[in-house]
Symmetry: C2
């Protein structure tokens, strides 16, 4: 297993500890519940934004904690939902007079944990709402999901809700922002390789040396089909068409365009994909107002990428422009 | 070959086009010389900072073009120095009354190209100096290098020189900053896998399923030894000791600490390494004033990482704090 790990069972708390050591002024770590939160949250003047899911998708979700983004996140083991008590303690730790919004990517395991935790918190009088993100157009229903899966579009929901909360919007208003972004964002991905969860020690699916999985899920769930690897532009064309036709996006739209790496693909290749995607967007009459190229929602060291389009308007552009800070940074 | 490419011969210009399409206000692309430059450079009021090397190390070098960083960069093919005429044209395109500083990572191919280009530019009356970066402590002399190799420490040289140039320092003063950073920065890396250059289509070295290369170069050059993979903390300890004993760093030092991914290692694993490195730095009596965890200087999709320490003082901290902007960003 070609990985930097100590005890595989401690992989998640060890990397979480690293995140907090690297951001000592900003973040604090609760090891018992594998939860990272902003030191200055909750703040009763604003809604708390919370998320928690399986690990292995970094920087989602736990590295997205910071001002203008998540207030806190609890992590399960790699590709496993966090336990109910961790979700419950996370809601309690971030309970604000203004309320708590839990953003859940649509997987049955995560939903079950957060449903129970939300009920428990509500029974204690905490004002908490839950929203489900499901931007993946590849398939309806999946290995671990009823309905569509939540993938890289999650970043935009967090960014917009975090900005709305920072601006003092009410819980209902922030929830409406989540709904608006989720209704406006679509993603599809492709995998060239599997990945190896540290505690498993072997790949999560088999794929031939000349094969790709079109429409893959971020836990290696099957997509639309297995195919031989195609040139980059052909792959982008399929992702772009699937995504753009879904809402649909139409000529004249202002969009954000994201090429998200799944973990093992170098950034140079992501920019090869971006070049084609940008051209396709322009040919379709879209104005690419903002772009995002890098890793936002990964599957450990999986080689692969996804393409996301977000339909913008003045409100969403303002929310995306608002200042934000997370553990992942260059400078 | 599990890669997003079209024609492998066009891999470099295609990803460069993507970078510029993603940063239309900031950058412009000269395809003939595979050169990206700031649109607003040269500026005769400040020194131009220039670099150019083989591709495959992204975000170094070409994604480091931007305000407060490089003014321009020309790229060779993957792992091949840029041609002399590209280097010469890059110097000419960035020629400023205040002078041009060329930052060269210490590889013979790059030095030869930039030596000739610098001479040609000087013969035309352009005020240009050249500085060689050699922060890799792993080995003296290497496959493609006389003396030590230049690796991830390059980021700090660029950042500090870019800030000094933006502050209006003279060419001699900016050169002195490069010298100071290079004298204060040390790096060592380890590889778990090889990588596959698109035009080659096969790995650049062989390595067993349970092996690692300690002290690897960013073109797969041999390091200090081949060994079986060790726990993450053991690996960090060896890198940390090699780096910290080299200047040496001493108790009481204020340092910047970088864990750099070599391309195929997920950021979660980099934070496992960071946690140990941070602890070792504290145990050694260093104050970690700033930290950097992510990809700064890679080797395509190689699984691996390097550890860098930079000894700080007030001047360097101010230069690192100065605003800067590059193609690689989260928001």
């Amino acid at each position: 297993m070609k990985k930097f790990v100590n005890d595989p069972a401690k992989f998640v708390p060890e990397f979480m500890k690293g995140i907090v050591l690297a951001n000592p002024g900003l973040l604090e770590f609760n090891e018992e519940f594998q939860m990272i939160k902003r030191k200055d949250a909750p703040n009763n003047a604003r809604v708390s934004i919370v998320q928690g899911s399986g690990s292995g998708h970094e920087p989602a979700h736990v590295m997205a904690v910071g001002p203008g983004m998540l207030d806190g996140s609890c992590q399960g083991a790699v590709f496993a939902a966090p336990p109910v008590d961790a979700c419950y303690e996370t809601i309690k730790a971030l309970a604000s007079d203004a309320g708590v919004l839990v953003l859940v990517n649509n997987y049955q395991g995560d939903r079950m944990a957060w449903d129970m935790a939300t009920e428990m918190a509500q029974a204690e009088g905490i004002n908490v709402k839950q929203f489900h993100i499901n931007d993946d157009v590849a398939v309806e229903d999946s290995l671990y999901t009823v309905g569509r899966r939540g993938v890289a579009g999650n970043f935009f929901v967090i960014k917009a809700c975090g900005a709305a909360a920072a601006a003092g919007k009410s819980l209902d208003e922030v929830y409406a922002v989540a709904e608006k972004v989720n209704n406006s964002v679509r993603t599809m991905g492709v995998a060239l390789t599997s990945c190896i969860p540290p505690a498993k020690g072997t790949t999560i699916f088999q794929i031939g040396d000349d094969e790709m999985e079109v429409g893959v899920g971020i836990h290696g769930e099957p997509g639309r089909r297995r195919d031989t690897i195609k040139p980059a532009d052909v792959i982008v064309d399929e992702l772009f068409d699937a995504v753009a036709q879904d809402i649909p996006f139409v000529s004249g739209d202002r969009v954000a365009l994201m090429i998200n790496g799944l973990g093992g693909t170098p950034i140079s290749e992501l920019y090869v994909l971006y070049a084609r995607a940008h051209e396709r967007a322009e040919q379709a009459g879209f104005t690419v107002v903002r772009n995002y190229v890098g890793e936002y929602c990964t599957s450990l060291e999986m080689a692969g990428a996804s393409l996301t389009l977000l339909k913008l308007d003045g409100e969403l552009e303002t929310l995306l422009d608002a200042p934000a800070e997370v553990a992942v940074r260059i400078f």
